[in-house]
């Protein structure tokens, strides 16, 4: 390593973790303080923008400690700013939650908050839709800009006041509307299975619902068909389903 690079490494090591790494020799501390502050604050605001509920739940002090540890220990190796929250998520997964006294739902809550960012950046596919949607006899087209999410905690209900301590299987559809709004719908297990079946846009609504009826061994498949059609129509009103395709 070249001499100036040794200096650079000492410089950044100190910025990342001033408690454990002393500043380079003969550098003015009052000036070094500027970098300690602005570089960390920049990272902090890039991460924080994605996780408002996590911050609210943990409180600012604990949140900052977590971000400080992220900056000191974890490498973010993408030059794209959009990918910083994902690096933070992968850091969270390496942490000892019991030791840090973090709520057990935190990783899932953080993932749920990150999903909103992720969905905002999923490309939409071009496909030809029928002019009159027939969600049963044609293939329902779920927007490509979606994520089907499963959690052990009801992440969408968590706030400073509501912090679940027991697990509840939670299914969520997160998607982007035509006006680029990010929306979520909490699903029951059956609707979740239905969306899993139609998400690749390969089967008709009827085929999917018959599979569901078989899966749950429902005595009256017709009832499932009616109920299912209403769900698909509602998802279309909400813009999660774009329409249907007969091609």
């Amino acid at each position: 390593m070249l001499a100036f690079q040794q200096y650079q490494i000492a410089f950044t090591a100190h910025i990342r973790d001033p408690k454990h790494n002393s500043k380079p020799a003969r550098v003015k501390d009052s000036r070094m303080a500027i970098y300690r502050e602005i570089v960390f604050n920049n990272i902090l605001s890039s991460v924080s923008a994605c996780f408002p509920v996590c911050i609210n739940v943990l409180g600012k002090r604990k949140w900052q400690q977590l971000c400080r540890a992220f900056f000191a220990q974890h490498q973010a190796n993408s030059p794209l700013f959009r990918e910083i929250p994902a690096a933070f998520l992968s850091f969270l997964n390496t942490q000892d939650f019991t030791q840090l006294k973090l709520p057990a739902f935190l990783t899932e809550l953080a993932h749920y908050e990150w999903a909103e960012l992720a969905v905002s950046n999923i490309p939409e596919h071009n496909c030809t839709l029928s002019t009159d949607a027939d969600l049963l006899n044609e293939r329902p087209i779920l927007t490509n800009a979606h994520l089907l999410l499963v959690y052990n905690y009801p992440v969408h209900t968590i706030s400073k006041r509501i912090q679940p301590t027991t697990q509840t299987k939670t299914y969520i559809l997160m998607f982007r509307s035509s006006a680029f709004r990010i929306r979520f719908i909490a699903l029951n297990a059956m609707t979740f299975e239905l969306l899993k079946l139609i998400k690749n846009n390969t089967i008709t609504g009827k085929q999917a619902l018959l599979q569901i009826a078989e899966m749950i061994q429902h005595p009256q498949p017709d009832a499932i068909m009616q109920f299912g059609e209403a769900i698909l129509k509602d998802l279309m009103v909400q813009e999660a389903i774009l329409g249907s395709s007969g091609l």
Binding site: M1, L2, A3, F4, Q5, Y7, Q8, I9, F11, T12, A13, I15, R16, P24, A25, R26, V27, K28, R31, M32, I34, Y35, I38, V39, N42, I43, S46, Q75, A76, N77, S78, P79, L80, F81, R82, I84, S120, N121, I122, P123, E124, A145, R176, F180
Partner: protein, 292 residues
């Protein structure tokens, strides 16, 4: 298709907050002095959804410059070739004619791998660093198959291992890399206060023939001898004077206002854009009077 020659007059750094305001006022005479816009490729590469729609809107209406933040020309890790190839494809896809970067670094090596700090850190001004940075600029230009311009950066810590002053470092890198200069007027002023040198004398030594365009911005005065380059305040008079001196010395060049923090509504930014235009016009006028 935009060409480097389409980058002219007055520009504005495109912040998310400003996008809807520019869209609402498009073709309104009040914003006629926004002649080009600048984006950070790190914010827009692989953008989909709303961001992609916004980008297309601007690509169709304004000449665009890419001003990078994370290439880390002075960084200790290997140059990020994968990222550079993304930049190259991005420039091509949106027909963006110019890519500039900072004479600084924003990466280190942690656990044997590159880590990003996402901020502009000062390269020590040593002979070795000149060769190292110049080589990486050449490598960048080779990969992109086009010239880049590098910007003189602002900084707060003087490296005790430096062997030369900032202007000598800049000149040596530009000459050895044979690249262009993205002149930041405010950074000259900020550094002149932070390190107690004569900004005007510094400017006189700039190789003017390499300037492609310039930045102008406000900064935050923290102490009498310490300015922080926040791009969050109005431009102060001594910085305007430096811009005038630069135009006087080198002729006018395109100039872009950076407003990155503490962003006011667009109408409050317009007077600064108009002032850049007015100064440029006064020099054009003087020039034509002189040739009559």
């Amino acid at each position: 298709m935009s060409l480097v020659t389409d980058i002219k007059g007055v520009g504005l750094g495109l912040k998310r907050e400003l996008i809807p305001q520019i869209q609402q006022r498009y073709q309104d005479p009040s914003i006629a002095n926004i002649e080009f816009v600048e984006i950070a490729p790190e914010n827009w590469i692989n953008a989909e959804g709303k961001a992609a729609a916004d980008l297309s809107w601007f690509v169709e209406r304004y000449p665009i410059v890419c001003h990078g933040l994370c290439l880390s020309l002075g960084g200790p890790d290997p140059l990020n070739v994968k990222f550079l190839k993304q930049v190259k494809a991005f420039l091509k896809q949106h027909q963006i004619p110019l890519y500039t970067e900072h004479l600084s670094y924003c990466t280190d090596i942690q656990h044997g791998e590159a880590g990003y700090l996402y901020d502009l850190l000062p390269i020590p001004f040593t002979e070795e660093a000149v060769h190292y940075v110049a080589k990486r600029i050449r490598q960048t230009q080779d990969i992109l198959e086009q010239r880049i311009a590098v910007e003189n950066a602002s900084f707060y810590v003087a490296a005790p291992i430096s062997e030369m002053d900032e202007i000598s470092f800049i000149k040596a890198v530009l000459a050895e890399a044979d690249c262009d200069l993205h002149l930041d007027i405010n950074n000259i002023y900020v550094n002149s206060i932070n390190f107690n040198f004569d900004a005007s004398a510094f400017l006189k030594q700039i190789p003017g023939e390499r300037i492609v365009y310039s930045h102008i911005a406000g900064h935050l005065q923290v102490q009498p001898d310490l300015l922080v380059d926040t791009h969050g305040e109005p431009i102060i008079d001594p910085v305007w004077k430096l811009l005038e001196q630069a135009y006087m010395q080198f002729g006018t060049f395109p100039t872009l206002l950076e407003r990155d923090t503490n962003i006011p509504p667009l109408p409050d930014i317009l007077p600064e854009l108009n002032k850049i235009k007015q100064i440029q016009s006064s020099f054009h006028h003087q020039k034509s009077v002189a040739t009559c």
